[in-house]
Symmetry: C2
Subunit: 131 residues, 2 copies
């Protein structure tokens, strides 16, 4: 069988992206591989096997086109209000917390944040199916 192990994102500046994912989600560098022309950085959470792989193409200067197909990566947290306040305090500019109802019940409680290249990331309260 097969198992999802990472999502790869191309980013312009290694240091600011590594700092963002560490501050926002506690991800740390599991491995870093510099090659001619590009560097790969694997960011890992202590809480999950799934990694974010950053590709930094050294010659790339202009912002990447993020398109309108790829949506977001989602993280779940046990205390959304606390995380939202922490994101605000860290200057990460999270959107306001939203609640999404379905068939009269709370389905999801979440906010969004953007990484330094503009990739959207959803932060969900641990609730219902999101855990």
């Amino acid at each position: 069988m097969t198992k999802a192990i990472h999502t790869m994102l191309r980013v312009l500046e290694e240091n600011r992206s590594v700092a963002f994912y560490n501050t926002a989600f506690g991800l740390t560098i599991a491995d870093r591989f510099p090659f001619d022309g590009f560097t790969l950085v694997y960011l890992r959470s202590p809480d999950a096997d799934f990694e974010i792989e950053l590709t930094i193409n050294h010659d790339r200067k202009e912002p990447y086109n993020l398109g309108d197909g790829y949506g977001h990566i989602a993280f779940v947290t046990a205390d959304l209000d606390k995380e939202h306040a922490r994101f605000e305090a860290k200057g990460l500019k999270p959107t306001a917390i939203k609640e999404f109802f379905r068939e009269g019940g709370l389905m999801a409680r979440f906010f969004f944040v953007q990484d330094p290249d503009g990739y959207k990331i959803e932060v969900l309260q641990k609730h219902g199916r999101y855990r």
Copy 2:
């Protein structure tokens, strides 16, 4: 702490995407939520917590712009040759298997496949750091 739980992709046709992810990676529908204007489908593997969330916007007809920033999702498998042959037999048109060396040793052995909307997916041999 926070944990990555899904990646969201916008796709044009629900059925062909669900069929693809099932055939290619054994993902099955964990939940499906139809709303006015859009449907959410959560695809899950028996081998991992991480899900793919498909968003189908009912009015969307033109192909999504996938941009050049988002790279791929990666899956790992215990037998890459067998999976490659199976993908070929199923008509999924995988790229040829490639090997990537670093400092004289095999770093990665992999192929790519595209889902029905063109999102690239990497399939890696379980080896070294990829597991």
